[in-house]
């Protein structure tokens, strides 16, 4: 127990902070933020699950979903989690060039996912599913749109991190900054793991 406490304190001091918990405030704040994000997406997913069958007008979900296309998008986002964790690993080893490479690849994969979502939304609108067409349409666009916004913010965070690492303008520990961006990125991935199963794979 004492050994664990010493290790945690060493870990905190390694990242340049001394706190009563032995944990860095930035990381603690990020986990608190992610905990609160669970509530946001919990509410949105709950609303979708309750309204998914309410199709008064417009196309039925199973008639418009393109499962092969969404599966590839999901795979792209899943692989971006791997490149993100490799970026964190490189940052912890102090390898800046590899960190930037993995961060850039992650941003490209994230942007590909967002591009796929824009294409999907455009196709759905063309097939007659607008935001206010039905309760299903409203809850679907709200849920997946909020997730898309989160991924877009993540891409901006990744590119900003690449920029500040290149200019060597990071305040604090470089590895910790990359790790915090990584935590956010993995979170948007786990949210999509749930959305992909509940929204796309389970028929309403």
């Amino acid at each position: 127990m004492a050994e664990t406490a010493t290790h945690t304190a060493d870990h905190a001091s390694e990242h340049g902070h001394e706190t009563s918990t032995g944990l860095t405030n930035n990381k603690l704040a990020m986990w608190l933020f992610l905990g609160s994000e669970c509530l946001l997406f919990g509410g949105l997913i709950s609303t979708y699950m309750l309204y998914r069958g309410r199709v008064s007008d417009g196309p039925h979900p199973m008639a418009i979903f393109d499962i092969p296309f969404t599966s590839i998008s999901s795979f792209v986002l899943l692989m971006s989690s791997l490149t993100m964790v490799l970026a964190v690993s490189s940052a912890q080893r102090g390898d800046d060039s590899r960190t930037n490479l993995w961060l850039t690849i992650t941003a490209v994969l994230g942007a590909t996912f967002v591009g796929g979502q824009v294409y999907e939304f455009t196709a759905f609108i063309r097939e007659g599913l607008g935001f206010s067409t039905s309760l299903f349409g409203s809850s679907f666009y709200t849920l997946t749109g909020f997730h898309g916004i989160h991924v877009s913010v993540g891409v901006l965070m990744l590119l900003s991190t690449v920029g500040i690492i290149r200019k060597n303008k990071i305040t604090g520990t470089k590895a910790e900054v990359v790790e915090l961006v990584g935590l956010y990125w993995h979170f948007v991935d786990v949210v999509w793991i749930i959305i992909f199963t509940l929204v796309y794979l389970i028929p309403s």
């Binding site: 603690l28 994000e37 919990g42 309750l50 999901s74 899943l78 989690s81 791997l82 912890q92 794979l201």
Partner: protein, 101 residues
């Protein structure tokens, strides 16, 4: 080099090869999930999808987000949020089930 990698593994839980293995497992589970859309799994359809979703979720959170190797305080913060989210869903579901005619 190997000493540096071993020290890194000790401090942060896994090596890059370990992360790649986890990603391969996640990709395989995703392929299995997608197969449920095309192959009739009968009564196992819903439970198998739910189990695969939870396994993927836990793997990403535990290994990629390092919760397995990090402080238990982070685990508590994250899973408390998740538990509250589940509570919101169950409450909303129950409300719609019992109070809507």
């Amino acid at each position: 080099m190997s000493t540096s990698t071993e020290q890194h593994e000790h401090e942060h839980g896994m090596t890059d090869a370990g992360y790649i293995k986890i990603a391969i497992i996640l990709a395989a589970i995703t392929a299995l999930e997608v197969s449920t859309y095309y192959v009739d799994f009968g009564p196992l359809f819903m439970p198998s999808l739910m189990i695969m979703m939870v396994v993927k979720f836990v793997m990403v959170v535990s290994y990629f987000m390092h919760l397995k190797f990090d402080s238990k305080i982070f685990t508590f913060l994250f899973y408390t949020g998740l538990g509250l989210a589940l509570f919101v869903y169950i409450t909303a579901l129950a409300t719609f089930k019992f109070f809507i005619s």
